[in-house]
């Protein structure tokens, strides 16, 4: 009976999707023109001739992420943190287990792998930072940079063991502080232009980047003739640190040695 129900469900699914393909077949194939909304985004993301609509960022994707739909991204960041907080809550009650005698050179994988990791891990961090810092100019941004940078602690955790990383100061607590600082930075950047508007006594919006016709304050688009696209650059930096630290926390929790769980309860 149960198998029959499953079969019926699968057949119905296939039939429904076939119907959908037939009905919506014409619109699945993308056209030679993009939608009107996309035209607006592409036209205004870097446009010196319409100063009240532009974001001053040649990267349209980052403009959408942190300017046109900035509030969406703030909420997505919230979902990300809820997942991290859930992991931390699940890991409560484990005891610290550090063996009395620790020979760090004997932990982890072979010398060859360790040497290669010593070379590649800093390079990964550099690439990640470059992805995050140039997020408003080239493909990339805070999310991508953070996810790339989290590969380095993952490599070190597996190849050098967890104790190596903890001895270097990358603990759950310190990463929590970095993560909270990044989150605070995102919050401050979101309301910075609004506060500036309050001080100046003019209209301004939360998550505003460049000046609008009704709100004449804006975050600086250029610093020392370098394009930083107002709040986009700060958002990318803070998001980079927050995502990197958040992933590092979960990876640290995942690699807690089994022995720390035995008996359970208490620090």
């Amino acid at each position: 009976m149960k198998r029959l129900v499953g079969l019926v469900v699968i057949i119905l699914f296939i039939l429904a999707f076939s119907l959908l393909l037939v009905v919506a077949g014409g619109s699945i194939v993308p056209g030679r023109e993009v939608r009107g909304l996309a035209r607006v985004y592409l036209n205004t993301s870097y446009n010196p001739w319409s100063p009240y609509f532009t974001v001053n960022s040649p990267e349209s994707v980052t403009s959408v992420v942190w300017d046109y739909r900035g509030l969406d991204t703030v909420f997505e960041t919230m979902v990300f943190y809820l997942a991290i907080i859930g992991s931390i809550a699940l890991a409560r009650g484990y005891r610290k287990y550090i063996p009395a005698k620790l020979d760090y050179s004997k932990l982890g994988l072979s010398v060859i792998v360790k040497t290669v990791t010593r070379i590649t891990a800093p390079l990964i961090i550099i690439v990640a930072a470059s992805i995050a810092l140039h997020g408003h100019l080239t493909p990339g941004g805070g999310f991508q940079g953070g996810a790339t940078g989290a590969v380095a602690p993952l490599l070190i955790l597996i190849i050098f063991s967890q104790y190596y990383l903890i001895r270097r100061g990358v603990r759950k607590e310190s990463m929590l502080i970095v993560r909270s600082l990044g989150l605070t930075g995102i919050g401050i950047t979101a309301i910075a232009v609004f506060l500036a508007g309050l001080v100046a006594g003019v209209h301004a919006y939360v998550l505003q980047n460049q000046a609008k016709a009704t709100a004449p304050v804006s975050a600086p688009a250029y610093i020392d003739n370098q394009l930083i696209s107002g709040t986009l650059w700060f958002f990318n930096i803070f998001e980079f640190f927050a995502v990197l630290a958040g992933f590092t926390i979960v990876l640290l929790l995942l690699t807690i040695p089994e022995r720390a769980y035995q008996g359970g309860g208490g620090e």
Partner: protein, 135 residues
């Protein structure tokens, strides 16, 4: 039907198949790890769908569609901007997908950790066994 449309139909059909397989894995595989793997396949398929919606066929016979990044903004003139708007793909689905990928990674890590804790608690990852044990 031209070649591009033909291949797009094949792509979309195979992705619908992928979706069906992922749903089958989530509902019918008893092992939690396999459920999580199916969930990642489901998420990636949904992301690929979003990207296809945002794609744009080549605007001309020899002018390819380009990524939504303005090249040469330091010496921009109106012709370049016009050309950019008429060739770049839709940036909105890409923006939605990029956050969805990172959040998907975080949620997957959370689920893996949850499965690990379930294994430590019950000694099994089979949902039928876990249901029978009742805490």
């Amino acid at each position: 039907m031209d070649t591009a449309t033909y291949f797009l139909y094949i792509l979309v059909s195979s992705m619908v198949m992928n979706l069906a397989l992922a749903l089958y894995g989530i509902f019918y595989k008893p092992h939690l790890t396999k459920k999580i793997i199916s969930l990642t396949i489901l998420g990636d398929t949904a992301n690929a769908f979003a990207l296809i919606i945002g794609y744009r066929l080549w605007p001309g016979e020899i002018t390819p569609s380009r990524p939504p990044i303005l090249v040469g903004w330091t010496h921009l003139n109106k012709t370049m901007l016009q050309q950019y708007v008429s060739t770049a793909v839709d940036p909105l689905p890409q923006a939605l997908v990029l956050t969805a990928v990172v959040i998907g990674l975080a949620v997957t890590l959370f689920l893996v950790f949850l499965a690990l804790q379930i294994y430590r608690h019950y000694g099994t990852l089979d949902v039928r066994e876990i249901r029978r044990l009742r805490g």
